[in-house]
Amino acid sequence: MSRKLYLHMKLCCQCSACCLRCENCVEMLFVRGSGNCVQCDTPLRKSNFRVQLFEDATVDKEVEIRKKVTKIYNKREFDFPSLRDYNDYLEQVEDIVYNLTNNIDVENTKGRMEQYQRENKDIIQRNKAKLTREQEELEELLLLQQQSNEQRRLEVLQEEQRQLQAKRKSKQALLDELEQSKLPATILLAQHKVRAAQLETQIEQQKQNVKPTSLFSTGIQIGQTVSLQPLPRIQEVLYQYKPLQVETYGPPAPDLEQLSRFGYLNHVRAAMPQDTAGGYTSALACYRAMQDAFSGLFSVNG
């Protein structure tokens, strides 16, 4: 029997979490109903053990403590006059949870909790009621969604069944005709083919004929009037393009286009076919040389 079977799947831990125990050990220890924890000697009850959800036991412990604390401290932002007050309240709650999780000042904290509970009993009740109402609404919605999903699935199934049946019927009809009718087989086959094609197109059309939904994807009902306020206009200054001015401290160098016109390119080595294939032109080298020659020519230093 091991207290070290941490990896055993059904691990439980005490909500005041002094130690971890696997399920068998729990059974063993509490065969008599209640007893003390082996490691830290606190009185425990078997019912207090829960299945561990998280890998880290401390996290699980904290989760349990938090659940209990928020049952008591269940005020909402709505209940507070300002954001600052709400944040202060939240910080209080966190302090309490932290203390209880790390076994700091347990007595004091528990005392504080009890005091708070006594003082705010009615608010706690009211909030509890609100909570249950909200949960019920959510559940209703979920139920509705589930039902509609079910229905759709059933309808699809039924459609498929009908189509299958129709196909079978037409095949059967073909066989019957082949037996009874006096027309040659090829004509009968051709007729059958035409009928099958018609059936196909019918099915296609039905598929296309999706039932128009009553809801937009955002959840607004079709046909519901939504207030269309004009959006507030944001006036800004229009962007004006201004070409970049660069100071070269020298005479202006000729542009790429001017180079060939003024005959600069005659004095540069011509580009070979291998060069032009890569996108190189002699104008590029010439341009760079000219720019370099004139850049900073008139600059005075210091």
Binding site: E247, P251, H267, M290, D292, S295, G296, L297, G302
Partner: protein, 319 residues
Amino acid sequence: MFHNSSQKKFWTFKNEDELEQMRYMANEKFRRKALESGKPGVGDFTFLDRHEEDALFRHYERRLLDFCNAFKPAMPKAVVGTAIMYFRRFYLNNSIMEHHPRIIMLTCAYLSCKVDEFNVSSTQFVGNLLQESPAGQERVVEQILEYELLLIQQLNFHLVVHNPYRPMEGLLIDLKTRYPTLENPESLRKSADDFLTQAAMTDAGLLFSPSQIALTAILNSASRAGLKMESYLTECLGLKEDKETLMKMYDSMKRMKTLLKKYELPKQEEVNAYKHKLERIHAEFATSSNKRKRGYEEDGHVAKEPRLTEEDWTDEDLL
């Protein structure tokens, strides 16, 4: 382009006095640091003063140029120019006494190959040190790699250098296109090239823009050949109206020519004497970067060997 480059913003200075001031400060800084280290028997005479440093600098710069010219595969001119510029910029803010120019010079060349996209592997690079054994070449590679980051840092990470070679090409093209008065601008190319090489060995690159240096080169070679080119400046460059800029340009060109005339290679005996002094200084005041070479020692350890014996390769090994 040059007009919005870091070279123009940070590495172009007003006049030679400013440069001299910076070098003087670097020298002073080293002296102070060495004196503070509290080694005994150190006086002012052990240090190099400015003209001695200068002579050594010019000597090593010449060696750098020769190394680059003898380099296999052939190094493009721009790479050589960049290497020399790095060397010059480095010793603007650092003293020769602190970092030995022998290694810095090779590091400059190596870095310049990388920056100017002249692809040479480090093994190929040190393969050009013909006097060295392969083991010696390995050691050089290690040293270069150690100093590389220091070099980049002292250049303030401004690695793009604008050399006057392309501006010169551009001006020649312009002359051929727009200045028919000059019959054969190609004849000017050779002596303009020589002018540019000489200018690289002076502070011209730190004082003037590369296009100005190129223009001076061309005008100089034209005047040497007895050709008149003043109308180029006034007509083609549009300076007919702008007398002030024209005057300034002539002024800059004169200054540049003076710089070139002043240049002279230091005498060999002087260089040898100063080199001895330098080696002694380096042996005495081994800096932390040297300690790193011996492995990661704790700070309490004293350097066991003087640096002189560790440097197995000397200047003569370079060429």
